[in-house]
Subunit: 337 residues, 4 copies
């Protein structure tokens, strides 16, 4: 921790800071500059929030050194985490594509989509049975019935299933059906839910909140991991900015940065990252080009009648075309699809 | 709903849009402009998301008309909602101030703070027993023990209690102790939690998420109200922007705008809105000047040792000074403190 | 400057950093922590950008200590700057209100508005003769003819004139007419223009860019002041955020923060800060409540036919009502209007 | 234009809106919905800002239909603009890479960099002689001497030159040396400067402002083009968001969106888009993958002593590696490097 004193801080103020640091069993190293005195604080103390020093007289700024995530950090585990799911490995050299509709709507829609995305090369089927909707008057998902349809589609195709879980008490039920539990962007800091999925052994896809920093995303992964579940994937799905022409701003910088900072697999979501089907293909390619380990893409047989996320859903034939285009791209990057 | 067709949309495209609209039992009104054809769609259909039309060929934009919040809207209920709490009325001409520490830390801290804020004129005591923290390694709150200390402070001072609830299953327990349930910024779109507090009859203070629009805040109030609990207060507590010198950007525009759009009381939180104790007093005054019905302010007897939010907590004497300064200001605005 | 080395930085890396620091005639103070080595660098070197150290091997972060603004800093000049303009003083205990239309449109409009705002208590008349417009096809202002109409309105009412200057070469001409030169938000970092107004002795109102930090605003003031013109006012006029219901987010936190950091007067612009006339009055009050030294407000006799900024312009009678309401508010805050 | 009236707007209010529309020689089409009356306005009137209707009683919202950019629009010119520069074509199937230091610092640095980037396959040499710096105390560029060094490097290598111009009066001088004029992010809405470069016939690289929308970028291109200079390239260089780990958020969504909306070439700037050299290579690949026509990349022989932008500059050998990696990627996308 680095404490910078204000210009003209008095000896008494500096002394009282040093005393406080020593009280906490930390070691102060004062450096007397021309303008500012700086105190470097060495040692680590549980439950010491650097910010508390800001209230001492004469203190200008306090800066924490190093990151707070430990289990998610690449410094802790230098090798890439690989998550195996009966034959599919997420985080290896092979890219993994998850695809399917935003919401599970009915049996025909699910089976039709499942067969189509499998055919095109997807390994995992997505579909929401519990939907976080801005309005209480919007469709909230089919619930248990939706989970059953997902299971039926898995049975029919062999695809693995990813679906969202929204409340801690639903975790056991959803885990019975899902191969991967999805934590949605709005729930990235729903700590009760993070703890609950952390206590299962199901792989978790953790979506970045639409206004969450990369550091906060990693801290939320840390919540899950510190409960014992290490099989976490990080998902960049766009952040909220001032730009109105796209639903979100797809922050692809996060992809190589997360790969640097963490050993966890990183998945790109160009559907939410753009909000427009006509941008999904180019941005899926961009996500792969900057190092994503996989993609999650919304596909719907009839986007024009989709109950949710129609504008960002690809039709099956467009998805198939994208998969064909991704193949040579993956190769040029030294990966496979 | 207004559908704007692309320049050069064909008659077939326009026809297929019109057909789709009629299929949904809505009435299309096409207007043929020089550049664009526009179709105004009259009628209301449950479960029709305007966005679905974006996937039809030739469609450029779709715009919803009117707001989606109903119960929270001032058009539905033109008079101000007033929330009575044994003698204290929130949303009337008298300003209500809630004050206390970020976290309940121990008995002495709570009782000392409770007496001090009461003395200064606060009506409601705040204190967190369950704390949403970015890091799983930070102090997570005292839990039930913290609730008991809050209750003891209420007993000792007669102040009402506001405290945060974080998970749906904790709602019954927290409701036993709290006079007002607080939904924190990170949980503004935790719909399971909104539904759970909506099923109680406890007043709810709903904080705007740091990434949430004013419209979304009102939709989250709608979740609570549509469950039957109409006693909701809206709280502006700062949003996240690019400015690094303050913890958040206190969006006071939201205060008069929420008063216009909704009948619910609006509370300002200058502690989180700024993140710096030295800005709390001026911004508390600003919140009152633009029409807030009350304030929630962090006060700690020793901010320099506070476990959380020390940098934005006022010492009791500074809080008392602020309360003295607010009195003439309230009068000049035709209100009382 | 504080340099934090990566975990596991080698002795060679630390040594090479130290060597580089000494090469620049600065003094390194290494502190060896448990995780990270930190090097505090003492001394000041012209043309050393701290960021350059980021390229040395083993360096994790570099942090500058202290602020870069000097002439604008309150540490340099602890007393408030007061700008006197024949009887009106900006930055003293008396609030100064500037009012008038967005654009000068014609003689009747200007004279009518000038008389009305004077009557209501404004001291300074605003009006744009050169208009920065997003579209090259929009009205670009009346130019010289507009300046003449402003001068005529000054003659007729005794009000002082503020008007925007957009290019360096127009500074001499605009200075002949204007009592205060306005630098618009889009030009806050137009350094050629800042230098040009810095070489005059006309007072300057410097508007914060819609994308600019508080630190950058002060650095732009520094450009003007370092050219010799010390009569600078800082203006908060709203920043761009994700919130779509208001044109800008009025960042009033900036007002008390600028007053702390700088001795320069601070003016609030609730017209641009909100973009909606129905929010102007409450936010004008809020700006005064948190310490603004004055206000700049758009007033138009017929906002519904205004060529620009109609939606945020007050009618004269609403402006007069606001001025009446501000009087007791100013008094309650220990100021006058 | 679409005008939505408030719920409960009176017949008189609707009548007065219709009268106003007809006054402006536009045609109103009222549609009477269940909740809201909507008036679609057909026709185009010069100098009518839709926003002015917001001031009429009973009006809730006003929405413009269609885009305001014309010359830059793909609807106006469906084919890609190709800018030829003695053998190099920007906007064709071949990607064009511009590379070089942030600032021109001295003769050796320029010549060494020029030879290195040419060797690696760059076609255009970048280097700043006039530098927009946040602080007036930072290095402001070598000026004319810098331009001469750029010309010397062109002579020595055959590379074309791109360099920034900051003020209207410097345009003739800079045009004598530069093959491409760069408008920096801070000057994207410096309309005097846009007009000045629009009056030359030099190709212009127009950088998106760090908080400018895609629509505003296109409107700024429109300023240049409406002056007669059609050879404009659009450059995405990162926008400002809340994320602190990167200097900017590289908004690659803008790349395919600009290609859809406009016929102008689009260039990606991963150096400013990330601010970190270790993210430049993956994000350069991402920019190419989503459709950029070229890249502009900062390269410096010794980034650790660069006067500006050292942290985001690549060393020549890393740049050469990136160029080698881009080759198969370009091929996989059906392009060449």
């Amino acid at each position: 921790m680095i404490v910078v004193m204000k210009k003209g801080a008095t000896a008494a103020e500096i002394g009282s800071l040093i005393a406080r640091v020593e009280e906490l069993d930390l070691t102060p190293h004062p450096i007397y500059g021309e303008m500012h005195t700086v105190i470097a604080v060495v040692g680590e103390a549980v439950n010491v929030e650097p910010e508390m020093f800001l209230q001492l007289p004469g203190v200008e700024t306090v800066t924490r050194i190093g990151h707070q995530f430990k289990l998610a950090s690449r410094q802790t585990m230098p090798e890439d985490t690989q998550i195996a799911l009966n034959g599919t490995v997420i985080g290896g050299s092979k890219l993994v594509v998850m695809a399917g509709p935003c919401s599970v709507e009915d049996r025909t829609q699910m089976l039709e989509t499942a067969h189509a995305v499998k055919e095109a090369g997807a390994r995992i089927l997505r579909g929401g049975a519990f939907k976080p909707r801005t309005s209480p008057y919007s469709f909230q998902g089919m619930g248990l019935k939706g989970l059953e349809l997902l299971a039926e589609a898995r049975e029919a195709t062999g695809l693995k299933i990813i679906t969202e879980v929204m409340t801690p008490d639903a975790v056991p039920m959803v885990s019975q059906y899902a191969d991967i539990l999805q934590i949605g962007a709005r729930n990235m800091q729903n700590y009760g839910l993070l703890n609950a999925v952390g206590r299962t052994q199901r792989p978790v896809l953790l979506k970045r909140g639409m206004m969450s920093t990369i550091q906060e995303l990693l801290m939320s992964a840390e919540y899950i991991m510190s409960n014992g579940n290490y099989r976490v994937m990080l998902c960049e799905r766009g952040i909220r900015t001032f730009e109105p022409m796209t639903r979100n701003t797809f922050d692809l910088n996060a992809v190589p940065l997360l790969k640097q900072l963490s050993h966890l697999p990183v998945i790109g979501d160009p559907s939410h990252g753009t909000g427009r089907w006509d941008l999904v293909a180019p941005m899926a390619k961009a996500a792969v080009a900057c190092g994503a380990d996989g993609l999650i893409i919304e596909v719907h047989p009839k986007p024009e009648v989709a109950i949710s996320d129609g504008p960002q859903s690809l039709k099956p034939e467009r998805f198939a075309q994208l998969m064909r285009d991704l193949k040579p791209l993956a190769q040029a990057l030294g990966r496979e699809l």
